[in-house]
């Protein structure tokens, strides 16, 4: 049974010390991968791609805006999956990881909102309009914040994580709304133009840097997620023996 395998794997990773060391090894690599892909992506975005004939160079914002937006949405999806596992199997690591997703996702959402409205000024002549896409994205930010707040409001962290997990599921409704908002309502915001595979309405020369940046944000998310989860783990297990051995035995970078 496939589920059995998955659950088993989770439990294996679920042992705090294992996870801690796992993260300790993996995180630096992810950060490295992020640095490289981001470097390539940014270079191409700023120097290689020709400036747009009508938007001018302002369209270069796309290479920040869109990856941030997509990762913000994808990050929430990841968090949702983790939350479901946490609620069903009560695996502690998934509780912790789900909660660690929130701040990262919030940051990405913030970046999307900020770059978006910066882009909006030259394109639409205003920083902000209350159209569906923009609003629903703002809502996503609030959901992320709500999750963080709820988790923080409980002294007993496991309890807090499970309560917040319920909220995660509830908030998942918003993700499709964000994505399809441009189709459901006539918004200022442009409709989906980019097809990563197949015929894209976008000029081919503009695609590579976008792909690099999207890749970079993925690596970034993984790395940050590992880091934060490990911190939370340390925080919670501060009085456990394995932590004692960790910090006294293996010297910690940073």
């Amino acid at each position: 049974m496939i589920w059995k395998k998955i659950k088993l794997w989770f439990h294996m990773l679920g042992s705090p010390p294992t996870f801690y060391r796992f993260g300790q090894v993996l995180a630096p690599w992810l950060w490295g991968a992020f640095a490289i892909s981001a470097a390539i992506g940014l270079y191409q975005a700023l120097y290689v791609v020709p400036s747009d004939y009508q938007q001018g160079d302002s369209m270069r914002i796309l290479y920040i805006h869109v990856p941030a937006a997509w990762q913000a949405l994808f990050g929430y999806t990841v968090m949702t999956v983790l939350a479901i596992i946490a609620l069903i199997w009560r695996i502690r690591m998934t509780e912790i990881m789900a909660m660690a997703c929130a701040p990262i996702g919030a940051a990405l959402t913030l970046l999307c909102l900020a770059t978006g409205s910066i882009w909006g000024k030259p394109m639409w002549g205003t920083w902000w309009v209350w159209d569906a896409r923009l609003t629903s994205m703002l809502v996503l930010l609030f959901i992320y914040i709500g999750i963080m707040g709820l988790y923080a409001a409980y002294d007993d962290k496991r309890k807090g994580a499970r309560v917040a997990a319920i909220l995660v599921l509830a908030g998942a409704v918003n993700i499709p709304i964000i994505h399809f908002s441009v189709d459901w309502w006539n918004t200022l915001h442009q409709p989906a133009t980019i097809r990563l595979m197949g015929e894209s309405a976008m000029d081919a020369s503009m695609l590579p840097p976008l792909l690099w940046m999207v890749l970079a944000t993925k690596f970034f998310f993984g790395a940050a997620l590992l880091d934060r989860s490990r911190n939370e783990l340390l925080q919670q297990d501060r009085s456990k023996r394995w932590v004692e051995q960790q910090i006294s035995g293996v010297p910690e970078q940073a």
């Binding site: 950060w31 001018g56 914002i61």
Partner: protein, 55 residues
């Protein structure tokens, strides 16, 4: 050789924000962990000093 861009302030502020936010997301956990580990190390020291290593 910074490229000459139209809408330069918009573009640069966006890329700047990207840099800031990502750096923040990288540094904050890092700093927090090092602080945490120092704390725990000290606590462990004290416990050893007290002679009772609790599990």
């Amino acid at each position: 050789m910074i490229p000459e861009l139209t809408h330069a302030p918009y573009v640069w502020s966006s890329y700047g924000l990207f840099a800031v936010i990502f750096a923040w997301q990288f540094l904050q956990p890092m700093i927090k962990r090092s602080r945490l580990i120092d704390e725990l190390k000290q606590a462990a020291e004290e416990r050893r000093a007290a002679g009772s290593v609790q599990s």
